[in-house]
Amino acid sequence: MLLTEIDFFLQTSAPADRLHWYERRCQPVGADLDREVILYRVNLFLLSLLGLGTIALIAQQPSTPLQDKPAPIPEMPFGSSYPTRAPADPVAVQHGRQIFSANCSFCHGSDARGGEGGPNLIRSQTVLDDKDGELITTVVQNGRPDKGMPKFDLTAAQVATIAAFLHSIPVGGRAQSTGTVDPLVGDPKAGQAYFNGPGKCSSCHSISGDLAGIGAKYTDIRALQNAILSGERRGELVEVGKKTVTVTLPTGQVVEGKLYQIDDFLVSLIDANGDYHSYPRHGAVPKVVVNDPLQPHLDMLQTLKDDDIHNLTAYLVTLK
């Protein structure tokens, strides 16, 4: 569950979220913040499962008289927040779009992102600083002769609708993508050949065994591909992970279990009974051997070709 949840988080998060997640991720396992993040991620995942049902439930709640209280200031998501503009009158936006299309799009592009001669207006300082057309009107009515922009005979009210249109376009260096891109670009036949041939996947995995139905397990192609590459490793940040360790004490006693933590000074593990053990390390004493079953996945990253990755994904996605 945790594996999928983190994949989900990373697949659906905005870059800002991931950036912050990176800073958070920097917490060592067990630190307070990390637990907070784990809880947050679990909550995020549960919320995603509840999805629209939850929203529908909330929507059905009867409104209370307390609703005339000012709304609380929304908490800054993941440490990054810039003011958003209140939604404008859709009629004004549509009107502005038409005026823009007729007068401005020839130079600035029909999407206002720049064209022949005219700059991208979405990220223009004038447009970003403008509130309701007051700055844009000055430019439109006077032109920018030094930059080859003519005057336009438009009223302030008309320019205000252009401003409403421009301000309705989402602006954010950390915003979500607006469109969809198909990540499935590989050839399943070539993927199958690679799986059974040079990729040596079949030496550890079986499509009727551990990988049976893997194409149905992941609804997101990118999550599937990331799982192929990492060997579903992601969970190791928030759980004990897949590494095991054998500790041989000076007495000759051997203790084995799931690796919990290791550094130059301490090794700890959870044994088959669920008991936690930790041992100080002094150089080579005790003898510590860590086994990472996913080491072949790490090693293959150094030689894997992008085409092989895409083909493997295209093959495994067919294993419903």
Binding site: P15, C26, S80, P119, R123, V185, Q261, L301
Partner: protein
């Protein structure tokens, strides 16, 4: 000779009426009694000549004090300290009534200044003065934020009796070092264009160097202010200001060039003899596609040398030409005078986020050496005649994904390296991760800033502290930092003449290593080490100062 040198600042300070002020002489010497600027001194070496704590007595290093610094509009008085001084009342500044709430706890991830026995510490929107002898808080200043990206604050700058810090909503705030009262604040960049400001201001002479950053394509710049009045002295843009200017040939048009990003968010180093300030600029924007910015995109992801009086560019070197992976080149450049290929040279050493180590002549910018310092790099097809890695365009984010090392976080990030003149080695903490980069935005025209791409780490070959011989680029030793998972962030490093290399490890230990071989000599588990260690003498005692989240830990020898 050495002793006289150390006594000089103390004698000068004796004649200064205000004991808390910063004597500018301190800024030009290796840090001993003070830590008056981001790297301790201007060289970026983070090497301390102090020897009281050394290999023979490091085992006796123990905790001197801890201080917890709680950000926000002011913590209620603690019921546990009714008889003590308690925490002072918070001084509140800012231009709006209600600050935008910020998620997350306190986070010290930058330099702490130590001047005349007082520490000056910052977190986003917050600043403190603390007694360096026992951690008592003297004042706390809180800035009511309008928002912005609260990713960190890299520390404060100091000039005479005043300290300076930046806010995420793009103000430069000057406080009275004695009281924490605000002297003035001024806007340094346009919040509407989604700038955010994190860097530690650097004081050089009567220049206060102030950077800013942006993730919405707005151009980066470095400004120099008069530290007395806050008046602008000069402003250097990371990109040429008009077509025809040098560097503009590396951009397709003015609009792309003037929206090319390249923030200035990591403090640089300074050579007083050459009068040049060296720092690295951030990534070009849009970060993950070069479709609208064909060319090298100067001076993004570049190491630049500016004349500190005029702000004019002396030279530039670009570690990542036409960066399409958000790598920046924002590392601390390290100034070393040494021999290279048998000739004495004024050098600049830089371990870049893209995984390549560079040696440059810092007088001219001449390239001397480029070597990869990670085994996993897979994005370059070779070096060009200027010694720059050549980007493989097949490793740009694509709909089906591409496997690239390093991820956008880099082989290294902002955490500073160190150079030890006693070993002649350059030390840096690094890791060897991979990411899959997917382009998720179908319309390249809609790409802005960092958007339009999903990136996920899919593995990490390991985390290490490495020692590089700059004369050859050879890695002399590599100390694995084992961990059960991916472990903590890369650590900043500091070396001392006591033959010690301080840093954090992957599980949050503060460790003193042997700089000759990387063997650990002393450690304590803090849970996290969130800034690079600093060290100074106070009352004849050498202190080691480390931050862990919202807490400062000071260590000294048990006598």
């Amino acid at each position: 000779m050495k002793q006289t040198l150390f006594l000089l600042p103390a004698l000068l300070l004796g004649t200064v009426a205000f004991a808390q002020g910063l004597d500018p002489v301190l800024l030009t010497k290796p840090a001993t009694d003070a830590w008056p600027t981001y790297s301790g001194d201007y060289s970026g070496r983070r090497f301390s000549p102090l020897t009281q704590i050394n290999q023979t007595n490091i085992k006796d290093l123990s905790l001197a004090w801890v201080s917890h610094l709680t950000p926000g509009p002011g913590a209620p008085p603690s019921p546990f300290f009714r008889n003590g001084p308690g925490n002072p009342r918070t001084i509140v500044g800012g231009e709006i009534d209600e600050p935008v709430p910020v998620r997350g706890a306190g986070h010290i991830s930058g330099a702490v200044l130590q001047v005349n026995g007082i520490l000056y510490i910052s977190e986003p929107d917050n600043a403190w003065a603390v007694d360096a002898r026992d951690g008592t808080i003297l004042w706390h200043y809180f800035w009511k934020t309008k928002g912005g990206t609260h990713i960190g604050n890299r520390g404060m700058g100091m000039y005479k009796d005043w300290v300076y810090f930046e806010t995420p909503d793009d103000y430069l705030v000057s406080l009275d070092a004695k009281t924490g009262k605000e002297r003035w604040h001024k806007v340094i960049s346009d919040f509407n264009q989604q700038y955010f400001s994190t860097i530690a201001p650097i004081v050089i002479g009567n220049h206060l160097l102030v950077g800013t950053a942006d993730d919405l394509d707005a151009p980066g710049f470095l400004q120099s202010f008069d530290p007395e009045t806050g008046e602008l002295q000069w402003k250097w843009y990371s990109e040429p200001e008009k077509m025809g200017d040098p560097g503009s040939e590396t951009w397709p048009n003015l609009d792309a060039m003037r929206h090319g990003g390249a923030g200035t968010w990591v403090p640089g180093s300074y050579d007083p003899d050459l009068h040049l300030y060296y720092f690295g600029t951030a990534n070009p924007t849009p970060a993950f596609s070069g479709a609208t910015r064909e060319g090298d995109d100067l001076y993004t992801s570049s190491i630049v040398a500016l004349n500190v009086d005029t702000g004019k560019l002396a030279w530039a070197f670009q570690p990542s030409p036409h960066d399409t992976h958000d790598w920046d080149a924002a590392q601390t450049p390290v100034i070393v005078d040494g021999t290279f290929a048998g000739k004495p040279r004024k050098l600049l050493l830089d371990a870049s986020r893209n995984g390549y180590f560079f040696v440059l002549d810092r007088t001219t910018g001449e390239h001397l050496l480029t070597v990869p310092f990670a085994d996993t790099l897979n994005w370059s097809t070779g070096l060009d005649k200027l010694g720059r890695p050549i980007r493989n365009p097949n490793k740009d984010a694509s709909p089906g994904g591409v496997l690239v090392s390093p991820p956008s976080d880099g082989i290294v990030n902002w955490q500073p390296p160190t150079y030890d003149p006693q070993t002649g080695l350059f030390y840096v903490a690094m890791e060897e991760p991979y990411s899959e980069y997917y382009r998720t935005e179908p319309n390249v025209r809609a790409l802005q800033g960092l958007n339009g791409v999903q990136e996920q780490r899919v593995g990490n070959k390991g985390k290490y502290i490495i020692a590089i011989d700059y004369k050859t680029g050879k890695i002399v030793w590599r100390h694995l930092q084992p961990s059960a998972g991916e472990g903590a962030e890369n650590t900043g490093l500091t070396t001392t003449a006591g033959k010690l290399l301080f840093g954090g490890d992957a599980s949050g230990n503060l460790v003193a290593y042997d700089p000759a071989n990387g063997n650990p000599l002393w450690h304590t588990h803090l849970g996290r080490v969130s800034n690079a260690v600093e060290t100074y003498m106070l009352d004849g005692r050498q202190y080691i100062l480390a931050a862990s989240g919202d807490s400062l830990f000071a260590f000294a020898l048990n006598f």
